[in-house]
Symmetry: C3
Subunit: 151 residues, 3 copies
């Protein structure tokens, strides 16, 4: 096993990064579920073999499908920077307890964000989990840049 | 050269990751090609210098452009998790033959997925390549979490 | 601190990768700013407590919000491949001066791309910064594949 993986901070990063990545991936099947449950498709070939009237009905957008897609897209916009910055951050040798705090806070924020988005919970629940998750990533980026700035 | 790159599993990961990333990047120029070929733009400044009637005609969406964009977006949703999970997986010291099986299967799935999407092949060709590619990533995530879980 | 981070090429990559990732993240708050400034929302819960007439007015798309979102999406499509390929590239042991040239050129392209997109500068300013940034990533991918090809 490569040396990196014996580093506890890196192991913690790998664990939480895998969890949030799996969470993000889950939005794909969830979109498919809503497409089928709500009868809302976008590709002609996905409704092949139906009558023309049925096709027209099925090839329509549905607000539930669009909501899951917006949630998925927000994940892409936030979990990807977390992975990039978190990976670099893990290599700067932070204290384990502080690193764990960052990884756990971000993971909790994004899981709560998904619940708030899909469940359409009243604001500012979704907004706060979005902002707080972003602040965690910015805090790690600050350490990366202040530790290994090389322009 | 850094030690990591002397590891055969990591070299294999880097090779296949670079290939699928280049494939994903190709969707950008392909979108531009369809925009020009089909005369479908979104930004006012992209149709500057045309008459008002022509502008109105050019600033319209076209189903071929949207199809490439959906394919590109599906790549983002699937190739990014593959990269994240695959990178961590490569560091857990898997057997080379099993790792190669994962990387090759995923790469084949995503190349086939693009052909099925752009060519509008009958389902379930696109659906199966989507699901199978996702299962490969989940299988790698399982190994990451079972090997280096550190919560 | 892990050995990787004592490598100057890797430090340079980490620095520029953190900068472009932060730039990409900034598009999120910028979208929120335009949503509030232009009064353009998509989620029912974001306009709770308003009258029905006001809700209908606020739940509309606005071209300025959509422009920032397209810019953000273009970042995802280009900065993510840069990170993936750049990370692998940094591990192939390139010369520092050549690596810096790649990282600086890409960063400059994407900052200029954002200015050209948000400011709606006349083409081909945006187009050229898009193409040039992509060529930088392709140049790094070429080195990755020619150095550590392992199929």
């Amino acid at each position: 096993m490569v040396e990196l993986v014996e580093n506890e901070v890196f192991m913690a990063f790998a664990t939480y990064a895998a969890i949030v990545t799996l969470k993000m991936m889950l939005m794909g099947p969830l979109t498919v579920y809503f497409r089928i449950a709500r009868g809302s498709f976008t590709n002609e070939e996905d409704v092949a073999g139906k009558s023309d009237a049925e096709k027209k009905k099925l090839l329509r957008s549905h607000q539930d499908v669009e909501r899951v897609q917006r949630c998925h897209h927000n994940d892409l916009e936030n979990i990807i920077p977390f992975f990039f910055i978190g990976l670099l951050y893990s290599l700067t040798g932070p204290e384990l307890s502080i690193a764990l705090l960052h990884f756990r806070a971000f993971t909790a924020c994004r899981i709560f964000h998904t619940i708030a988005y899909i469940g359409a919970l009243p604001q500012p629940s979704r907004g706060l989990s979005y902002i707080f998750g972003m602040l965690v990533t910015i805090s790690m980026a600050y350490r990366v840049l202040s530790t290994i700035l090389f322009l």
